[in-house]
């Protein structure tokens, strides 16, 4: 940008002083990054994520094959990892809260919930994932998103229907996890029930979302 009474250095004007040049470049770098991330200012972090949780999440994601998307669309895509806050958890049920801020112009097309299952019940378990709706007349509605059968302990990446997660304007997404022994699993529970999930430390549950700037083919669907 030409300054008052000066020419742009790139257009044959005099070169800036070294210190002014450095300041200008840092300012340009800041402006450029914020503009391209559609941010008015740098995020203020109220809830810092622990480095251990972050490291685990990234390690889990590493090596996951990318979707077979055209190269052209790559630069319009974002991947988001959102760590869960756990409101309550027991041997059979957990309520996870996610704070999301996906731009409205973006389209959610892939969602997976990553859980680290603890040895709660023996045998195969049936895990049902519900999405909680807004509170109405002191009651919340809930919608079944997915049902998975879990046999092994440890980390699981559970695919959720992306259509079931869209349209959350408040930016808060609540998922309830209900776990029961699968029919035919006659194992009995003895002793004190243990928790279903490890919800702290480096085994904190997280949601992996993929979004892109617009939905290819949306216009065609409308025309039909």
């Amino acid at each position: 940008t030409p300054r008052a009474g000066r020419q742009c250095p790139a257009c044959g004007g005099p070169t800036l002083e070294l210190e002014s040049q450095r300041e200008l470049l840092l300012h340009l770098a800041k402006r450029s990054i914020l503009d391209k991330l559609h941010l008015s200012q740098r995020p203020t972090l109220n809830r810092p994520v622990s480095r251990a949780a972050l490291r685990t999440a990234l390690q889990r994601l590493h090596g996951v094959p990318q979707g077979a998307l055209p190269e052209d669309n790559r630069e319009q895509e974002c991947e988001i990892i959102s760590f869960a806050e756990t409101d309550s958890t027991s041997a059979y049920s957990s309520l996870l809260t996610f704070h999301l801020s996906t731009p409205r112009s973006h389209h959610l097309y892939h969602a997976r919930l990553w859980l680290h299952m603890l040895p709660t019940l023996p045998g195969t378990l049936c895990l049902r994932i519900f999405r909680w709706g807004p509170r109405r007349r002191h009651q919340r509605s809930r919608t079944l998103l997915a049902e998975h059968h879990i046999t092994n302990l440890g980390w699981h990446a559970l695919t959720l229907p992306s259509s079931g997660l869209r349209g959350e304007k408040s930016g808060v997404l609540k998922l309830q996890l209900d776990c029961r022994p699968l029919e035919g699993n006659n194992s009995t529970v003895t002793g004190q029930p243990r928790r279903l999930l490890d919800t702290a430390g480096h085994q904190q549950p997280f949601l992996e979302l993929k979004i892109r700037a617009n939905e290819p083919g949306a216009g065609r669907a409308r025309r039909r």
Binding site: Q7, C8, P9, A10, C11, G12, G13, T15, L25, L26, L28, A29, K30, S32, I33, K36, L37, R42, P43, T44, L45, N46, R47, P48, V49, L54, A57, L58, R74, E75, E77, C78, E79, I80, I81, S82, F83, H99, L100, S101, G171
Partner: protein, 114 residues
């Protein structure tokens, strides 16, 4: 486009690395730790105008002919980026979510005279 030598007066690419720690942003940008901003600077005398950035079209050929026959003031030709590439960023948003995105046109790869 040549990378600038210390005494290069002509349009060239100057390599410049921005460290996010220098910006005080290392707490919310997780990866990378910095990036090659790079920028273009230097003189664009009339014989270099229109190259190499826009030299490949009929329009630019006419433009160059006009310049050659009727030289424009030096200030109308600028040393500008002609090729850029994207940068992958991993950052924390306002809610503490980790976001990975490919930001287009972040790194200047080549410069030319407009």
């Amino acid at each position: 486009t040549p990378t600038c030598e210390p005494a290069t007066p002509l349009c060239c690419r100057r390599d410049h690395y921005v460290d996010f720690q220098e910006l005080g942003w290392q707490d919310w940008i997780l990866q990378p730790e910095g990036y090659q901003l790079n920028y273009c600077s230097g003189q664009c005398p009339p014989h270099l105008a229109g190259s190499p950035g826009i030299a490949a079209s009929f329009h630019s050929a006419v433009f160059s002919l006009l310049k050659a026959n009727n030289p424009w003031p030096a200030s109308t030709s600028c040393c500008v980026p002609t090729a850029r590439r994207p940068l992958s960023l991993l950052y924390l948003d306002h809610n503490g979510n980790v976001v990975k995105t490919d930001v287009p046109d972040m790194v200047v790869e080549a410069c030319g005279c407009s």
